[in-house]
């Protein structure tokens, strides 16, 4: 598992967003398509693929895709 897999899985949660726009430094709330539905889809993806529960409260303090990845890895340990 590395961040490139995570970027791909993260990008998979969007339908109208160019996957190349999803980079480690991407501030995901700035993505046009971002909504509460995507947020829940991302949390579900993390639960399913990485077996980590990240809550909406935790997500609120995270801004970039890389920060989310790092937070998830820290919870996995």
């Amino acid at each position: 598992m590395d961040i490139n897999d995570f970027l791909k899985n993260f990008a998979d949660q969007f339908d109208d967003t160019d996957p190349t726009l999803i980079r480690p430094e991407t501030r995901f709330r700035d993505i046009d398509e971002w909504s509460s539905l995507n947020a829940l889809a991302v949390l579900n993806m993390i639960g399913k693929k990485y077996k980590v529960i990240v809550t909406a409260d935790e997500l609120r303090n995270i801004n970039t895709v890389e920060e989310l990845y790092d937070f998830m890895i820290s919870k996995q340990k």
Partner: protein, 247 residues
């Protein structure tokens, strides 16, 4: 005679170890009923049992999705005056992330188990004439919908459909069958939610009565539907949602 009394009635409550089911068991016992309570978690079921006023109550630890355990439970029950099916789970998951096991788990616990429980009680003639059956359904799936709750909604509207046909079939014996459709109730189910404090606060604001419901507020409705006072009510779904679905 007080038409709202349920004193002496023998009532089965499933999902009695927590939340709405626990509140219903405790309230019914307070009102003088004899309780038969069941749930999967023995410790929490015993906690509920210890809170039941009066004597003659019984507890049965059982997983109602397990055919043998269900059969064993039914064999230990006397004829009943009331059933409240309250066992249920909720998982927040968008359709995009759903796997087979997610569907199976929620539909099994929320819909299939109550259906088998009902049909076995009918087949084993465990329901007295004039008995009352209540399914704890939800506004979710019946009166409105939410993102991430498609399977839950499907399970709860399945209960509503089953309830209507069962109400018709049992009417000749004056047995009534109804659903209660609560809005968001403050229970342990909320603690497992992915939603955060901010989401809950903005959600509460959508309720005209400006708060979530309390388990005992669902219990009071269950007492009414179990009592003689509701003897002409069958096949209905009682919405208890602080006005949420008016909006």
């Amino acid at each position: 005679m007080n038409p709202f009394s349920i004193e002496g009635k023998r009532i089965l409550v499933t999902g009695a170890s927590s939340g709405i089911g626990r509140a219903i068991a405790i309230t019914c016992a307070d009102m003088g009923a004899k309780l038969f309570i069941t749930a999967r978690n023995p410790e929490r079921l015993s906690e509920t049992f210890a809170l039941l006023e009066g004597t003659g109550h019984k507890q049965f630890c059982a997983d109602l999705t397990d055919g043998e355990e269900l059969q064993s439970l039914i064999s230990h029950l006397p004829t009943l005056d009331g059933i409240v099916s309250s066992a249920g789970i909720i998982r927040q998951i968008v359709v995009q992330a759903i796997e087979q096991e997610d569907v199976n788990e929620t539909i099994q616990i929320n819909a299939i188990a109550p259906i088998h429980l009902s049909r076995m009680l009918v087949q084993k003639k465990k329901l007295t004439r004039g008995a009352s059956i209540i399914f704890i359904s939800s506004i979710n799936g019946n009166n409105c919908a939410f993102i991430g709750s498609s399977i839950y909604a499907a399970s709860k509207s399945a209960l509503a459909g089953f309830m209507k046909s069962l109400a018709l079939e049992l009417a000749p014996r004056s047995i009534r069958v109804n659903c209660i459709n609560p809005g968001m109730i403050e229970t342990g189910l909320m603690k497992g939610s992915l939603l955060g404090q901010q989401e809950f606060e903005s959600d509460v604001a959508k309720y005209p009565l400006k708060r979530y419901g309390r388990p005992e507020e669902v219990a009071y409705a269950a007492v009414y539907l179990l009592s003689y006072a509701s003897r002409w009510i069958t096949g209905s779904s009682l919405v208890i949602d602080g006005g949420y679905t008016l909006m």
